[in-house]
Each structure stands twice: as C-alpha cells, then as structure tokens.
Symmetry: C2
Subunit: 529 residues, 2 copies
Amino acid sequence: MMMFEYDKNIIVIDSGLMFPASDMHGIDYVIPDYQYLKDRIDQVKAIIITHGHEDHIGAIEHVVTDFPNVPVYATPLTCGLIEVKLRSAKLLDKVTINTVPTNGSFQVGPFKVEFFRMCHSIPDNVGVGITTPAGLVVHSGDFKLDQTPVDGKPSDFAKIAELGNRGVLALFSDSTNAETPGFTPSEREIEHALELVFRDAPGRVIVATFASLLSRVQQVANICEIYGRKMAVAGTSMVDNIKMAQKMGYLKIPDGMLVKLEDAIKMKPSDVTIMATGSQGEPSSVLTRMAKGRHPTLNVEIGDTIVMSANVIPGNEESIFRTVNRLFQCGANVVYPAIARVHVSGHACQEEQKLLINLIRPKFFIPVHGELRMLKAHSRLARDLGIPASNIFVGENGTPVEFQDGNARQFERLKGGWVFVDGRRVGDIGPVVIRDREMLSREGFIMQVIRRNNDGALSEDPEIITRGWVHMKDSQEFILQLAESVGKTLADVTAAISDDVVKTRATEALARLVSQETKRKPLIITVVA
Amino acid sequence: MMMFEYDKNIIVIDSGLMFPASDMHGIDYVIPDYQYLKDRIDQVKAIIITHGHEDHIGAIEHVVTDFPNVPVYATPLTCGLIEVKLRSAKLLDKVTINTVPTNGSFQVGPFKVEFFRMCHSIPDNVGVGITTPAGLVVHSGDFKLDQTPVDGKPSDFAKIAELGNRGVLALFSDSTNAETPGFTPSEREIEHALELVFRDAPGRVIVATFASLLSRVQQVANICEIYGRKMAVAGTSMVDNIKMAQKMGYLKIPDGMLVKLEDAIKMKPSDVTIMATGSQGEPSSVLTRMAKGRHPTLNVEIGDTIVMSANVIPGNEESIFRTVNRLFQCGANVVYPAIARVHVSGHACQEEQKLLINLIRPKFFIPVHGELRMLKAHSRLARDLGIPASNIFVGENGTPVEFQDGNARQFERLKGGWVFVDGRRVGDIGPVVIRDREMLSREGFIMQVIRRNNDGALSEDPEIITRGWVHMKDSQEFILQLAESVGKTLADVTAAISDDVVKTRATEALARLVSQETKRKPLIITVVA
C-alpha cells in the first residue's frame, strides 16, 4: 500500500496483504497499518489497484469496510478478481468499483491518474503515472519487461517513453529482483519446459500454482490441447478465478476441455491434467493435503507427474521442499523450478530495472516493493545510472517523502507497521501475545494448583498439569516427584502466610526444580485454590 | 551417520547432528536414532569420522557416551575438532581417538578402511574405501572436486581412479547439489570477491561464517595481510577452533595479526577485521546479537562492512535475510552471496558428481547426504551415466541395503528416525509434546479455575488466566464477561453434580464462547478447586 497526498486529497495505491513470517505465530495474515488514513478518512478520495495478486488486493475487504464511500479504480481483470473477493465477503454492494482500461486515465481531485500496461505474471497489470501540482510521478507497479508475454501484450514502452519525455519528478519502482543480474526470462519459456513434462508423463499431470496465476492456467490449457488431455481444477479460489476469467475473455479454454474433478479422477490417468493450489506448501492447500494423504478425493498415485509451477516466496522454502519430498515418497515424479524451467519470476531483474529508469529519467528515485536489502540493491543500480545518491530515498514501509518546488525530503518513519489478522479479530494481537506464543512454542507451560487446609497448610502435594514441556503421560512418576518436592518446600506454611506468598514460593521452587532436572524454562503458573 | 555391518562387525561412519526444522519447536538439535546400534553394542567396532563439520561430528558426545569402548578414527584436523568438542563436554578422557593421515588405512575386524583426500570447505576431509568380504565399497564423504583449493591440496584423483580400477561394488556419494548443473566454483574465487570488499571498505570489515570454516579464516587472514588489517575473533567456538588449528599448523596467521576483541574495538576502524559467528542468523550468535543491538561489546557502526560468507542452509533463509535487513537498518553495508561471490558451496555439482561416478564405475549406486529430492536428482544423473535403474537404491535415513554374491537388495526403512535434544534431556520429547508446542504457538491457552461452595454451587465466576490467546491486560473486561457467561451456564450446579461433570461443562461452555467471539481455538484447561 502506498499513498499520495496533496492539499488534503489522498489517493491510495494497492491494498495488499502479507503472508505471516514464521515468527508471527498463529497469525492468519498481515495487513498494512493504515491508521494515518483512518485519521484522515474524509480526505481519502480513491483506492487504485494495479493488479489482482494477493499482495495487492488481499486487504481490500478491510479497506472497503473502513472507507465505505471511497471508489475503487482498476483494470477489468483486476476488478473481476476484486469482485470475486468482495462477493465472498458479502461486501460487493458496499463499494463503487470503476473499471478503467489498461491505457485509461481519470481525474481524482488534484491528481490526473494515467494507467499504462506493464507485463507481470497476471494479465491487465498496470503502472501508474500521476500528474500532481508538484509534478509528474510514476509508479512502476509490479513489472517485468517480457517481450513475449503469454497474452501477447507487451509493456507499453511508448507510453513509458512519453511519460519520460514529459519530465518525471520521481519514479517509484519494483525492487523484488534488484539483486539479480540480467533479464528475467519470458513467461513463454515455461511453455517449452511444460511441454517436455507433458510429453514424458506416463500418467496424470498435476500442476500446482497460485490461484491467481491465470497465465499459467492458459499455458497448461494450450498444452492440454496439444496432448489431448482434459483439465480439472482443484481448490475453490482457483475454480472461482478461472470461471471469472473465462467469462471475461481472459482465459481461452477450448469447449469440453474442463471437466469436473470427480469425473477426472475416474478417467484414464494419461488423459487428465489437474490444476491445483499448493505451490507454497500451504498447510490447507490441495497439494499439501494430497502429499499428507489427507485430501478427501485426490491421492498421489504412482505414475503421477506433479509440477510445482511457482516461485518460492521467501520464507516458504522449508514447507515447499517438505511437500516436494513427501510427494516423492508417495511415488510421484516431481518437477520443480530447481530442475526444470517450469516457473519464471514475474518481476524485473537488474537490466530491466535499469532500462525503466533510463526510459523514465526521473529526478528522484524511490525503490519500492521489496525487503530493505532489495531496496538497497535497487538504489545502487540507480546510482550506477547517474542518479545522485542525494536524490535516492530508501525507506521502509511508513516512511514519507515530501516534494516541493522540485525538491524532495525524506521524513522519519511513521509509527505503526503491521496489523495482524487472527481469526475474527483484526489488530488485537500485538507483540506481547506473539512473545507468549513464541515462548510457549519453545518451552510449553506448567500449571500447579495448590490447595490449602483451614489451618493454611497444603492439603496435598500440588497438582501439576503441563503441555509442551515433557510428555505428561510418559512422565507421571517424574511429575509426582516434582510435586512432592515442591510440597516439601512449603511444609512450614501456616494460615499466617498469605496465598500470594505461597504462590511466589511455590512458583520459585518449581522453576528451580524444572531447570535443574530438564534445563528448560516453561512458563509456570501457580494457582492457590 | 551410516553404518556397515558384516558378520556381527559394525563400523559407523560419521556422527553428525541436524539443526531442527522450524516445526521442531524448542528443540536444541537433532541426533540420529541409533537404537539399532545400541541393541548391538558389542558388535560396534569403530567410529570413523570423515571431517569436522557439525553435521558429521555434532552428535559425537552422545555417541562416545553410548559406546564408551569404541575407538574413533579420523584425520588430524578432524581429531582436533573432535577433541575441542569432547574437552568442553568433559568426555575427552573417556575415548580413544586414533589419528589417521588423509591417505592412511587401517583394519577393523573384516573391514580394511582406506582414507583418500577429498576437497570440501574444511581441510583434512576424506572419502573412505572399505574392502569387505562382500566387495569394495566407496563412500565419497562430503566433497567437491576443487582444482585450486585454499590449502593447495586437491582431491586424490589417483587414489580414486585406483579404487575404481580395483572394481567397486557400490558407491555412496554426496547428493547435496545434485539439482545444480555444472561445476561448483573453487574456494579460491571467494578470495577475489573478498579482496574487492576489503579494498572498498571505509571502516571495519566484519566477516560472518561458520565456526568450523577454517579455510575462510585463512583467506581473510591472507587479505588482512595485504591491507594491513588486524584480525579479532568473536564467538567462543570460533576462537577455540582457530587456536587449535593454528597450533596444529592448519592455519597460518602472521605473528601479531590476531588481536583481542576488546582491543580491536578501540582501534581505528579501517585497521580492523572481525571474524564472527552468525552467518545463519542463529539467535544467540554474535552477528544476530549485534544486529539486534544486544551484544555486550560489539555494536554495528555506520561505515561497517559486514560480509555474510556462508551458504544458506535450507530453512534458514528467513532468519538470515532478517539479519541482513537489520544490519542495513543499523547503517552497515552488507555483502552477501546474492550480490557478490563471498561464498561458494562446499559440495559437488552435477558435473563433479558425474566425474566421480565415472572414475569409480561402481556396480551399484546409492546417493546419500541430501533430502529425498536431491537423492532422486542424483539417481537420475547415475542413470544418465548408464547405471541401470535396478542397480540404484534411493532410500531415506534408516533404509538398509544388503550385498551378497555381487547382488544387492534394499529393505524396508527401519523404525525410528530422529532423536530430539532439548536442554538436558535426550529423546524424551516426541511427537505429542511437539504437537502441543505447535498448538500453543498458534493459539495459546486458557486456564479457568472453578471454586465450589460447600453446597456445590460456584462460589464466584471462574478465574480465567491466559497466554497467547488475547492480551490479558488489554482484554480484562472481555475476559470478565466470558467468565460471567461461563458462570451463568453453571448456575444450576449442585453438590449432586461431580467435579468432573462441572469441569466438562465449563470447558465446553468456554470453548464455545471463545470460538464465537474470536474464531480461535486455544487449549482450554479447567481446574475445579
């Protein structure tokens, strides 16, 4: 999410979600902290979405709920994907969605917004030129400069050059692959690799990818046509997206090729291809459940060829490769990017990033969309191209840059950061709960219940209940011994000693024993009943 | 760990540890499950270690404790590293360690064991030829075929060829990089990249690597000499290893170059290099503590150049890149393998793996040392070289292969797998505790204490204590409401109703309310006091 503000007019670019890092225990997903916008709710004039991937539309439910009167602007396919999402959240009637062609433009307050087509791994992806009273700024959106994209529609170089010729104050550009030299291979190259896989596959071919990677679905359909295979789709989000994209004309699948999953299972394996979710090893995805033998209808069968046709999202390496290993264990042949080009990145590498900078020739350069290390790498490229270091602003999320009279200045990062979504609640979980979850995950907890007589003495040894420290069932004797030891340290307790003191002494005694015996530090809670 | 067995004689090759996967919550490290050996303790005749990395010697404490009378055989540097480890565990006097030269041989029962030098990212690394009554088998050890290794001692091609000429029954070969085409670059190439880093560094250079990567220490010392820098070492394990390697002549550091860390901090930054642990983002390592501002003496300073000179161990990507980003935030310049060749793999790529197979020309091929996907990739290579699929055995840890009369047969995988080490205890934590920790990490727990009157009714609403579900302090009112609601569902309780029934009803009521209000599923424990 990014915002542009001028004279109490704010436009928002993109409303994505982030998948939780491995130390964000139990969090479903993460949305940006847009308290700054909530504090200026009347100033927010438009929500502009550059394309339909989750990291750009995944927070849309929350945003349209918080800004009910603000119109959304996006290209046709992006609108389609947003509508699928809002319909399932029962929010579709709450918001005005304006469809803008990929070369369209519109005015919002003082901003003239111009879309221009940029290639990415989804059709109808755009960059945005914004003419403001302070000058023209250009936001690349996610992009690669694919010369042979699957939909035959390359990036709009003419428009990019034209924007450059107008004189650009600042370029905000996608930094994802700023560490990688050269050019990103064309999506078209995947087709050759996939074709070899299909040619050699003795049985079913199962292709796992993102639910929104519609160009991959088109490519698989093209190859299914060559090899006379039917195609079935597993995974609700993918089924919904494919339906919508077909209806809108973004997917051209021959009549009769799509079959129902339950029918596909009964067909001759070599006649069938299944598109599925799960390319990131997500626990609830079709492929992961198949790999664990927990999918209701789909089992991995010997002779299956399973294609992981997606890049590795950083942090997902372990779960992806665990799934790959499990699928091999089940007897499938697994094809993944490390051994065949069945996926290429959707983002520009260094040579494309340089080309964009040289086409736009901005005065100021702000690398966006990437971890700090990627932004740093992108800023080094810009310096190599002659943009002075003083005209490059590297800032993490929440860092404002102000433009005035052709000058620019970066401010301190605003407070805030991420908002965690967990279950029904948004933002109620902060660092304390996460730290507790982290500690519980490493050490578990022990609870001891102490019951006192009328004369204040312990009526019995403490009752100890534990999870995540030692196995309660296997360690019964050991636990009883500990309880007895704690009991002994409290043998002198009388009615004169308060519950609080008993609690503290019992907790300290148990912690000491636990550390001595196991060198572990579970959370200890003592209750005096 | 691998074992060879003939007629009640067992020799063990390597005794490594595994770093815990991210779902092995709270586990310190993982050792192999060698119950099979414990059940045959009198048959174990030798423990042979191929080199001194943690994944080959990290379980040695446990192994020498369990097999106190079994001698260890290893090359000089490997013995040195084992001794450092056993000394700190106070086990050094409990075991016989036999030093064998890299081209040495020895007899153990029916086995004639011959070492041969193989390049790797540590000196004194060997492969092993074992002449058994069933035939000659060769184990590659970890290897790469580096033509210009840092210590100037390439792999012993002559011996490898000679073994091949004798006729090899089976080759067991390192599969780590079986997915990667071509040759692994020479360690020597790192020196060029490092030199450029040193040339351009305005202040201190901090090089993070593994404590046992002694060739990297040598390379950094070489460059320090060129640029007239002193070298300090941070991290106990690295300090111990360097001391030992210097004493044994494996590290040649000019007199006066090594300085104490406390002195280095006071010197002019451009005169200093610091070697540190933490290349994997390990929480307790020097570099991670520096990045978090939690190291007692070392702070990241603006002008520092920090080199991550190690490969990414799969699963560590997130913590490594988080450290890189944090170091950038602190104002350092960070150089890491994605942007400069400051590390190369220590393992052979496909062309080297093929060359080894062609030199050895084994009848049977068994890919080892790698995840299943790597073993599969290695087996495809062997097939490409003409080894029939029926002579290749792909098996995960614990899968026996039997050779008899020139034939071979693979058996079902033995029961067992990993043994978890957590704190003082080895193997007491199994799947149940791990599952509890996983659940606690995602949802936390709630404890409710119910106190009953003499007439059996609740004397007050349940007392609710929670961690990892909602923030107790911020949610006091909400928690009191829940307690009141649970209390109401138990309003009819009398002395006739047992504690167990009250417990069940209270737990069910609370679980229902928690799910309704938060859509979360914490562990709920009810205690009736």
